[in-house]
Symmetry: C2
Subunit: 313 residues, 2 copies
């Protein structure tokens, strides 16, 4: 009897849900929504975006970013409306002002741009600048430089220009060639610290003098850590951010490897109420390139589906 | 029937064995004796011992070594016969010449000895000298120095004197206190490389700039490797060397952790024929402080028991 009663209640609830979240009364059991504290823009990205939008207010033509300012299509779209577009050609004749994004650029490219006489707004993340500086320093001190990172990533391509001709780029899984006796290490700022530990262990087997600059940015590590913790407390994780953002994708992979239902979306429009069937708690996280307004949109839309704000992370 | 015949043969063999090895005929099955290639004196120890015996030939009084020249009681005994004794007091008035052993000494002690005007023969292992040099260099460059090693070992006490007041000594299991941002590592020459990897992984979690001088001596690593390989091929391992030799004890612990019968002896006199019952192959290894004549003695005595020379390692 109890069972049958239970089924009846469940059926009622399902029919309510199918009518939309606004039909849930205050006393009805609804999903709790939790947002990872460090979700979204990191210090360097916020600085670059604020700078770019400030320039958009003042100058209305000839402003370009070198490559997309961040890996987030929605932000790029907003900037296009304000006449700021990405370019990958520093010699493009329409350029009056060029904004260098957080990832930085190879130093040759910066020199080339400087020779052209237009304004350069260098929004390279200060932590990336530091990694570039250390790559150069290690090279000048005669170390063979090893960069831990993704060799296709713009930040790493920038680092390579400072690291010298015998520099090696490798990731966690990559093979190491025969190394010299004196080896220096710098790290793409968004790499996980475990990858650095593994790399250094492998270098110790070959080289006698090893200098490691741990240039990993704490904000990435912290975001990963908090995301992992939240994934352990919720039924569904929604990862918000550009599909072309390595940072966001890393969060999505992390969650997908854990026992939690994981969905990676770029905007709230992609949300599907069926994802939340039976869920009591839902967690939201977002990469360093995801703006707050997109995270807010996602939270609001989940509220519409039947969620209510939780007490933070 | 076959089984019974087998038993009869086995009984014959056992009775022969109880009569002593000389009763074995050439065609009788005997134990193969294998000696680890890198067993015994390493480069630094050979150099120190050769130097010391050469001095013994020329000078007949007032020659002392600072502490036992090596951790091998039999060698110390031989030197005493030649009037060379260990002392732990550089101010001892009978000293005319002082030999510094492979482990080296704290630099304050060396300076103290120098002020006293007697001859100093510095037989510090060149690899230990290098580690001392790097400890000093790291300190001068403003790094907090971490020494991986056994803080009671004379080599480490020497390194500490070069490493500065905020230096830390730790082994694989030791806790790490809060570290500074810039940390430099030197290693007791006889440490295993795995311990260095683990230590550096732990440092990476705390510090941002890490300089590692891998001062581990290859000869120790190679001797451990070859000993481990041999232990996999024989029924009995005999580890030869001073019980006060960390180096030899490390080999004995390694073998004891493997599926092979292991015996640690200082001299051939300790050999017991019962250890070799049923053994087809016996392996001999020895620490860096074990002289060749002791290893030869052991080999000969095992031959007497019923062994025959194998084809090297």
């Amino acid at each position: 009897m109890e069972n049958e009663e239970g089924k009846g209640e469940e059926a009622d609830r399902l029919s309510l849900r199918s009518l939309g979240a606004s039909f849930f009364s205050e006393t009805e059991r609804t999903m709790e929504i939790l947002v990872v504290k460090t979700a979204g823009f990191c210090f360097g990205v916020r600085r670059a975006i604020d700078t770019t939008f400030a320039i958009a207010e003042k100058r209305h033509q000839g402003v370009f970013t070198f490559g997309p300012i961040i890996h987030n299509p929605q932000v790029i779209e907003k900037l296009k409306e304000k006449n700021i577009s990405p370019t990958d050609d520093v010699s493009y004749e329409d350029i009056r002002a060029l904004i260098i994004r957080t990832h930085g650029v190879p130093y040759q490219l910066m020199e080339d741009a400087r020779r052209r006489g237009y304004d350069i707004i260098d929004a390279t993340c200060p932590f990336v600048k530091k990694a570039q500086h250390y790559a150069k320093l290690l090279r000048e001190e005669g170390f063979q430089v090893i960069i831990l990172g993704d060799k296709e990533h713009p930040e790493v391509r920038g680092l390579m220009s400072y690291a010298g001709e015998d520099a090696i780029v490798t990731d966690e899984k990559g093979d190491l060639p025969d190394l010299k006796n004196r080896v220096g290490v710098v790290v793409q700022t968004t790499q996980p610290v475990e990858a650095l530990k593994k790399l250094v262990s492998r270098i110790i087997e070959q080289s006698k003098e090893i200098k490691v600059y741990n240039t990993i940015c704490n904000s990435t590590a912290l975001r990963l850590k908090e995301t992992e913790e939240m994934a352990g407390k919720v039924d569904v994780m929604v990862v918000v951010g550009g599909r072309n953002s390595a940072n966001t994708t890393q969060l999505a992979h992390l969650c997908a490897s854990l026992p939690v239902r994981t969905y990676h979306i770029e905007t709230a429009d992609e949300l599907d109420r069926r994802w939340f069937d039976g869920a009591e708690r839902v967690g939201i996280t977002a990469g360093a390139s995801t703006p707050e307004w997109i995270i807010d949109d996602v939270r609001e839309r989940i509220k519409d589906i039947g969620g209510r704000e939780g007490d933070g992370t």
